[in-house]
Each structure stands twice: as C-alpha cells, then as structure tokens.
Symmetry: C2
Subunit: 355 residues, 2 copies
C-alpha cells in the first residue's frame, strides 16, 4: 500500500508548489499592471538632450555652493547624495538658518514625477532647479548674481560653452537649470525588491513583504501611489476621507491652492513618490511624522478611511522597505576656484535689493 | 670663415644650455634643502594604524551631518572636498548661522602639520576632529550625544566593531576621531609644480615661477614656510616686524596666547601651510584678504620688513600658484538611515544643557 501514499505526497507537494507559484504569478501580474521598474540609466529628456559636458557641468553645479548668496548652500545641502537625495530635517534649513515651509522631497528618481515640488508648481526638474536658488529661505540668490558668479570663473565659462555649443551667451540661469536637470536625471535607484520581484525573482520579496504588497493594492494605497515612482504623478487632498490635525497639516500651508487659486485645491498635494521611502524620514510635507509605520497608519485613516490593524500597517511598512534600491555612486566633483571678479559671499540674513 | 662662426654659435648654445641647467640645478638643490614633496599615499600613523574598515568609517563620518546637533553640518561643510579642503568664507559659518572666529584651514595634506588649528591647540588630526563637533559656533554637539546617535544606527555599530576589533565598546567619541583622522590622512595633493620640479622636471615651473621660488627663498618666506607643507610646523607672531592693523589682526583674537597664556604668545599663530593656497582664498586667520598677491604683499611688510615690489609680489604669487597639486577624487559616501532611537535634529541656536 506504499505506492498510493507516495503518490498522494507527491501530488500534495506539486499542488503546493503550483499554488505558491500561482500566488506569486498573480501578485506579479497585479504589480506589473500598476508599477513600472526604475531603469538602470536615464531616458533622454527631449527638451534637454544629453551631452557629456552638460552632464559634467550639472554634476558640478549640483554641488556648487556659489549658486547661493552665502556661498554655503548647494542643491546637495538639502538633497544629499549620501542621504537618498533628501536631508534629515522636518523642513529644510536655508539662508540665515531660516526654516523652510516644507519637507525636502528626494531628487532620486524625481525625473519620473509628473511635476516637481509638493504642490507641483514646477513642470520639470529644470524649472524646479530655479526655485530654491531664488527662494529667500533657501539659497536667497538672484539669477543675475548667479550668472555674474559663474561668468567670473573661467572653468565654468569654458564648460558652459562646450555644454551648449553654438550659443552666443551660454552662461545663463536657464542653462544652469538644464545642466542640473540632466545630472539629476542620472540619480536613479534600480533593482529594489519590488523591481526584482516584478522581473521574475520570487525571492526578492519576503512572504511578509508580499502580503504587504497585496494589502497596498487591496486597501487602495496604489490608487495614488502607482507608476514608476509609486506616486509623484497626480494631486490629491491630504485628507480624502478625514483631514488630519494641524500638527500634520498646518493650516497656513494650503498646498496646490497657492498655485491654482481654486478652492478645490485647498490642502491638495502631489502624492509623494515612495521609492526609497524608508531612507528619507521624516514624512509628509510637514515632516512631522518620523516613523514610516505611523505614516502608513495616518494614510489609512486620512486617505482611505480604513483603520489599518497594526499587523496590516507592519506588513505594508515591510513592503515599503523593499523600495530601497541601489543608491547611485556619486563622486564629489572638484570645483574651480573663485577669481578676483567673483562676488563675495553675502551672509546677511534678509534678502537685499543690492544683489 | 664659416666654421669658426658655427663653432661660436655652438659654443654659445652649449654655454647657454649649461647655464640654464646649472641655474635649475642650483634652484632644485636649494628647494630640496627646504621642502619635501607630498607623497602619493599617506604614511602610517603609528598611534592609529590603518585598516580598511576604519578608513571607510572615517570617510563616512567626514560627510556625516548627524555628528552635529542640527544634523546639518559635517566636517565636509567647512572642509569641502570640492574646494581643496576649505570653504569660501572669511570665517566659517556654523550652528545657528553663527560666524566662527577664524578662517577654516584646509584638511588637505594637514597630516603633515606639526599641530592643528591656527593656534596649534590640537596635537594631531585626531584631537582636531573632536573640536568642531563640540564647538557651540560650529557643530554644537556633545560626545555623549554623538555616541548615542552612532549607536542608534546598526550599520555604524557594525562598522565600528570591524574598525576597532577586540574593543568592548568600540562606538565612542575617541574612535570617531581616529577614523576621521585616518580618512583625512588620505587627502593628499601630490604632483604640484614644485614637487615635479624637485623631482627633476625643469619644465614643471615657468621661468616666472622659478624666479618667484628664488625670491620666496631669498626674501625669507621659506623661513616660516618650509617642509612638506611649506608651513604648518611652527609658530610665529603675526607681525614679526610690523603688526598689521585691526582689520587683518582683530585685537580680540590673540592666537596662541589663549593656549599657553604666556605674553610672548600674544598674536602668535602657526604659520599656515601653503600647498594649494591659490585654491583656498580668502587668507589669514581673519580671512580678510581675498587676493593672494595682496596676502604676499602683507607678509612682506609684516613678517619680513621688506616692501616687495609689485613685480616681486607677482612672481612669488606665480610660484605659489604652482603649489596646487592633484586634487583627490573623493566618492560621496552613502550614509545609513536613522532609526527610531536616533536623536532628532536640534536646531535651537544656543547650546543647551539638555544635550
């Protein structure tokens, strides 16, 4: 009577394997319907075609403190390539130790966002790059001053000419932004757990992370957090179902309302991208929540109207932890020295007309 | 009669070549008697032997803003590896946008200095590294807080254990400083014009730079600026012959007097190292002089009692410009994320007892 038992065991084993595979295959199909992987290299930006000089220039300018009035603050200050393209602050600190109004979103994979800033007020990374340079609470500078500074440094004059061949006056604020955009488009984090799972590796996510992914889809998170970046492509009210308190949603910051001036955009923000989210605490535009699991719970009640159980929040958090990809290896560029005609650092705390 | 003319020309040529070579050879011998080249790799620090984990740790800690109370300021902030190991400021800006008392000396080649800081109050780079972390106008932190922060991050706990094998409690302030010292000892700039000239390359200095080198020796500059770093090894009054005005020598900063409390040390400072000096304006401990040629002229009158002619100051400046060596290629390290037990950034402007 041994044979039937063996057959039974064998059948059970096959069935179990097949069930597990079917589960993974279904989950993979669901994931691939909602998300797209981070590519290993950046796609060409049509309006800003690649050349090596421009990329090198953008790399230097990203780290260039002379873009700020104080000559102390660069893109890198708040979008630190050692810290997954963000900083460690609730909201960023800028010129004169002023505290900015919102948490710094990461520059990593930001090229895949539909628009930039929490309120989407910049159409692309090029437009975005111009903002902080001029914001009085950030770099507190003026385009004319940036151009004067860059033109005073022969290495930059030479590099702008090579980066923008054929242009009469290539050292300008617009080209500064284009070069930075091109560099930022290289800050990608491929090969995270989700992407490896979608590519066919069943072991790229743990059982708990797979359950978290399933919950992420089933409870509706993926409604706002989908696409390449799991977010960053559309606008939603913070508080679809239940508005959080003033601690998380300061009444002075009405989000996209400031851009569109229409009442339906009050407290509307671009859904943040979730790639590398476990590396970029604290959370929300106010930066008031430090624990990713707490942030997941807040999202459940405010956006989905679903009180997630602690077990569910843990599983979704484990899934979000699988969104940390390969961090780019970035060389710190060597920057050229100032010259006699380079403007001096201006540390005065208030924006002045004399710039 | 052609032959004698040809012979004459030939003789003249040989004589000229031989004279030039003799001039170069003499100058080289003089230079080699006073200066030593920057090596391509760091020598072992006896009290702090190398291991790869410690070097990697030091590299990370040099860029680690969580060593500061605000979590915004790292060694790199004032000793920028893109800016020849210094910043662009008269005197550095630190916690709460406070202006520090002195110009940031470069970390590059600093391992060859006899002592650290403008007043030599730290014996070596390890002792130096502890200073800015605790200074209220710089990083405004406390050793216990640094240790708590580093212990809250598993990647650091692991790396300290590997960097300091066999130690019971390796994550401590002393070991932080040791790791940073080891990394800083790799920040070397070999192959500058002077070193290539000393190594036998007659063309490594221009004719003007050779004249500048000769003047540098003849007028007495090399009396305080000699050795590997052309300075950094001994103490001298600012104003050996004639004390500069309060603009360059603020009366509130009496230099080494604050360390030794003996009157002969009033306004005494360590002679600054001159390697890469053309890359690290502004000059002097007060950072009040922006032009290298102006700094040379001030040194002539205050230290040597010699009014240098403009032509002489230009030649010496050209020579100093030949002291810019190969800048190290430094990767920006990827830093590990904070955890729930990591202390939060504290941006309050005044040092608090609660640290």
């Amino acid at each position: 009577m041994k044979k039937p038992v063996s057959l039974l065991v064998l059948t059970a084993c096959l069935l179990s394997t097949s069930l597990a595979s079917a589960g993974d295959a279904d989950l993979r199909a669901t994931a691939k319907g909602l998300f797209k992987p981070i590519p290993a290299t950046a796609a060409e930006i049509k309006a800003n075609p690649h050349n090596d000089y421009k990329l090198r220039l953008g790399h230097m300018l990203y780290f260039e403190p002379r873009l700020s009035a104080s000559q102390l603050i660069s893109c890198q200050t708040c979008h630190n390539v050692g810290l997954a393209g963000a900083d460690l602050q609730e909201t960023s600190t800028g010129h004169g130790w002023q505290k900015g109004p919102r948490n710094a979103p990461t520059t990593y994979n930001a090229v895949f966002n539909t628009a930039q800033f929490w309120d989407g007020r910049a159409a692309d990374l090029k437009e975005q790059a111009k903002g902080p340079v001029q914001a009085s609470v950030e770099m507190n500078n003026k385009p004319a001053m940036v151009e004067k500074t860059l033109k005073s440094i022969p290495e930059y004059v030479d590099l702008f000419a090579k980066a923008f061949p054929g242009e009469k006056d290539p050292v300008n604020f617009e080209n500064m932004a284009k070069a930075i955009e091109l560099f930022e488009a290289t800050l990608l984090t491929p090969n995270d757990g989700l992407d490896r799972f979608m590519a066919g590796d069943d072991k790229a996510l743990t059982a708990e992370q797979k359950e978290g992914l399933q919950l992420f889809v089933d409870t509706g998170c993926a409604g706002c957090h989908d696409g390449v970046n799991l977010g960053g492509t559309d606008y939603f009210p913070f508080g679809v179902v239940e508005q959080p308190g003033a601690e998380l949603l300061p009444p002075g910051d009405k989000g996209r309302f400031a851009v569109t001036n229409t009442s339906k955009d009050e407290y509307v923000f671009r859904s943040p991208a979730l790639r590398n989210i476990a590396l970029t605490a604290p959370y929300f535009h106010s930066g008031k929540v430090w624990s990713l699991q707490d942030a997941v719970a807040v999202m459940g009640s405010s956006q989905l109207g679903a009180e997630l159980s602690e077990a569910q929040a843990v599983k979704i958090t484990r899934f979000l932890e699988a969104l940390s990809g390969d961090q780019p290896e970035v060389l710190h560029p060597v920057l050229p020295p100032s010259t006699a005609s380079t403007p001096r650092p201006d540390l005065s705390a208030l924006p002045t007309a004399a710039h």
